[in-house]
């Protein structure tokens, strides 16, 4: 008989398990069924939104590993996504290589570029590291815009459909399965990374890098590893984005996008596995609600409003939400979820 409090683990495997009870497994399977049957009841538009959310979650998880777990602030994440996008686009469109090669190469290339721009992290941190990652953003975009023979420069370049073998991911549903599959693998990796030696080293570096070094953790090795892993996922995300949109232009990877990613992981909860997922879903759905529902309603119904008022509401609400989260719940939605679960377990008692 299960008791409402305390744990009863008799093996290491039970103690380390992510899903520890039959209820956990049932809910998890139910979630997977709900996700993977989505194409049966969602149209192309909502599948497109889900695809964009999936792509964004992969990049946000990468940034969370770098910033949330290892404490290395990066405000150039969109630049690393662009590296992955263009790597995959060039390899598949110009060189005719298969999509899986483009996908993995996108991750590796973005990871290596991330490591290069992560070298300053060995000497600087905090605000100064943020400036160097902003420099990465601008340098990468400049290179993309001026390497015209390879990237098409300012004009951009077309990107073919993703394909594996003879299977071409043309329809929105097939792209959904591809993107959500890779997203699930990414979430699984990130959750387990936090429980490995490397994950614990990242946290130690974040909490006190001097103490971590004294304990024998190599800052050089683990900081660069964090940059590589974080930017690897950014590259994977970029590759999926390129093949989903079908056309690449450096304008798609602005500094504003990089800052928005920081906002997503803050709202979701830094340093948690669930945080990037909650943050991305929350902000993307908020964006849809404002852009698709609220603004057209205001524009068409209240024509006496000052010019630009209705369309200005969306960015205003975005900024307000980020500020409110920083003030009221700086630990993000993941912390709120933890509090809810704890309250549910203890209900009707409060402690």
């Amino acid at each position: 008989m299960d008791l409402p409090a305390g744990t009863r683990n008799y093996t290491y495997a039970q103690d380390m398990a992510i899903l520890r009870t039959r209820t956990h497994w049932f809910l998890f399977v139910l979630l997977l069924v709900a996700i993977f049957t989505a194409p049966l009841y969602w149209g192309n538009y909502w599948l497109g939104v889900a695809n964009l959310i999936g792509i964004t979650i992969i990049a946000a998880i990468g940034l969370n590993i770098l910033t949330g777990y290892c404490g290395q602030l990066s405000i150039g994440h969109a630049g690393f996504i662009a590296v992955g996008a263009y790597t995959s686009a060039v390899l598949t469109e110009r060189l005719g290589l298969p999509f899986p090669v483009g996908l993995i190469s996108a991750g590796i290339t973005a990871g290596l570029v991330g490591m290069l721009f992560g070298i300053p992290s060995l000497r600087v941190k905090g605000f100064y590291l943020a400036i160097s990652t902003i420099a990465a953003q601008f340098i990468i975009i400049w290179v993309i815009n001026h390497w015209t023979g390879v990237t098409g420069g300012f004009v951009g370049m077309r990107v073919p459909y993703a394909s594996i073998g003879g299977l071409v991911f043309k329809s929105e549903s097939s792209q959904f399965y591809l993107i959500i599959g890779i997203t699930c693998l990414t979430v699984f990796f990130a959750k387990n990374l936090a429980r490995t030696r490397a994950g614990r080293a990242f946290v130690a570096i974040r909490d006190n890098d001097l103490a971590a070094e004294v304990m024998g953790i190599s800052l050089f090795r683990y900081k660069l590893m964090a940059f590589f892993i974080g930017c690897f996922f950014a590259g994977i995300s970029g590759s999926l984005l390129a093949h989903w949109i079908g056309y690449m232009n450096a304008e798609h990877f602005s500094l504003t996008t990089s800052i928005l990613y920081i906002g997503m992981i803050i709202i979701g909860g830094l340093g948690t596995a669930l945080g990037p997922i909650l943050g991305v879903v929350f902000l993307k759905l908020l964006d849809q609600l404002l852009t698709v529902q609220l603004v057209p309603f205001l524009e068409s119904t209240f024509t006496a409003l000052p010019a630009g008022f209705a369309t200005g509401i969306a960015p205003m609400v975005f900024g307000l939400v980020i500020v409110l989260f920083l003030i009221l719940e700086p630990r993000g939605l993941a912390h709120r979820w933890q509090l809810f679960k704890a309250a549910y377990r203890l209900w009707p008692f409060s402690y």
């Binding site: 009841y41 538009y45 964009l52 300012f154 698709v292 024509t303 010019a307």
Partner: protein
């Protein structure tokens, strides 16, 4: 304990059912047959100074057509308008929404946003019109149409006017270019690469061609590099905010008004005068594919009436005129499609074949050049006019100048 588990399971099941039903909630009882089109403008974000009046004009014109003209052959036009915020990923989901919502075609204002949407639209054979076009959108010609001449055509028309009417010096005039770092700017560069030699204009593409971002705050550094190069003319292909900064910087360096400045149509609107100041931009030339507010053309009366009634702050902004004309073209496309194929048979592909490709000499009330589809040329209107800013007003100095078709896809440097 067991009741808590059951409660949790039932809550989760309810959430799953609700989440699954939400996207279907938009479905309602079938209404009278309407003609549905999608329209998207960057009404917020870095291009809002152009996108906002354009969005207003799109909707005001459709309102005029529905209320005063009874729609298209008695069928009301239903517009699904969405703000893309000049965000490429959002624009990609918007075009999917248009397709999902059974829109017959879509319109957009910006060439930058159309470049994010065009591949998705082309893949689904979903036709679209962009107010502002660039060569990459319509070359090779597929399912994306440019309402007006593209940014390359702007350069070609302005260069032709400059050589025929302004340049009196010996030899070749020396031209520098300042380009927005997207298809808006580089469309003009591509035209210059293709035609500069033919026009007898000297352009050093390595040293006299600069780029800038929409967020630029100063171009003193780039302009300083050409201070001693005896540049006769600076051509700017950008949006109003960066253009105003470049012109101010040119004045500060003493380059203007000694050097002539010409602007592409993406920046040459009332917003430029408001941002830079009338005294700063006095004498600047520009091209625009529409008439201006003081012209005497039949179609302008309704534009002025609705603008003053619905969005008086947009009065004087030429972007409003271009989007009004875009909506008139959309209405004509629907009318042709209904006439040729019947309302029951309309699909995006049918509308393209029986609407878009049947456009011939359609007059948008004189607001811009006649609209005609030519096979192999997805520019619907091919003429621009040259204007000059005099006394704080944009004044026409030429008639309609037709821009030649340049087959960029035949140049091996195109798209590189």
């Amino acid at each position: 304990m067991r009741s808590k588990r059951l409660l949790a399971l039932s809550v989760v099941l309810c959430l799953v059912v609700v989440a699954g039903m939400l996207p279907l909630a938009a479905c309602g009882p079938t209404a009278e047959k309407t003609l549905k089109i999608g329209m998207t403008t960057p009404s917020s974000g870095p291009a809002a100074e152009k996108g906002s009046p354009m969005g207003h004009a799109n909707l005001d014109c459709i309102k005029y057509v529905n209320e005063e003209l009874g729609g298209v052959d008695g069928h009301q036009i239903e517009v699904l308008w969405l703000d893309n915020g000049y965000d490429a990923a959002k624009a990609a989901t918007i075009v999917k929404r248009f397709i999902d919502e059974d829109c017959l075609f879509f319109t957009t204002a910006s060439s930058g946003m159309m470049s994010a949407m065009m591949e998705l639209a082309n893949r689904d054979y979903f036709p679209g019109i962009s107010s502002f076009s660039s060569p990459v959108l319509t070359h090779p010609p597929r399912h994306i149409y440019g309402q007006t001449p593209d940014y390359g055509d702007d350069w070609a028309a302005f260069a032709r006017y400059f050589m025929d009417n302004i340049w009196k010096g010996p030899g070749k005039p020396r031209m520098a270019m300042h380009l927005l770092n997207n298809p808006t700017g580089y469309g003009a560069r591509d035209a210059a690469r293709a035609l500069a030699d033919d026009f007898g204009i000297e352009i050093d593409f390595d040293n006299w061609v600069f780029e800038h971002a929409t967020t630029t705050t100063s171009e003193i550094a780039s302009l300083t590099t050409i201070l001693d190069d005896d540049i006769d003319i600076l051509y700017i292909s950008s949006t109003p905010a960066p253009t105003s900064i470049i012109i101010k910087n040119a004045v500060e360096l003493g380059m203007f008004p000694d050097m002539l400045i010409g602007c592409g149509h993406a920046s040459f609107t009332k917003a430029l005068i408001d941002l830079a100041g009338a005294d700063v931009v006095e004498g600047v030339y520009g091209v625009y594919p529409t008439v201006d507010w003081d012209d005497d053309v039949p179609g302008l009366a309704k534009v002025i009436e609705y603008c003053k009634k619905e969005h008086p702050n947009d009065y004087g902004n030429m972007d409003y005129i271009i989007s009004w004309a875009q909506s008139l073209i959309a209405v004509e496309i629907l009318r042709l499609a209904v006439q040729n194929a019947g309302i029951e048979n309309l699909t995006p592909q049918v509308v393209e074949e029986q609407g878009f490709k049947k456009l011939k000499d359609f007059d948008v009330g004189g607001l811009h050049g006649p609209v005609t589809y030519s096979p192999g040329d997805n520019r619907l209107s091919k003429s621009v006019r040259v204007f000059q800013i005099k006394g704080g007003a944009i004044t026409p100095v030429s008639g309609w100048v037709e821009a030649p078709l340049v087959k960029y896809e035949e140049y091996d440097w195109f798209g590189k």
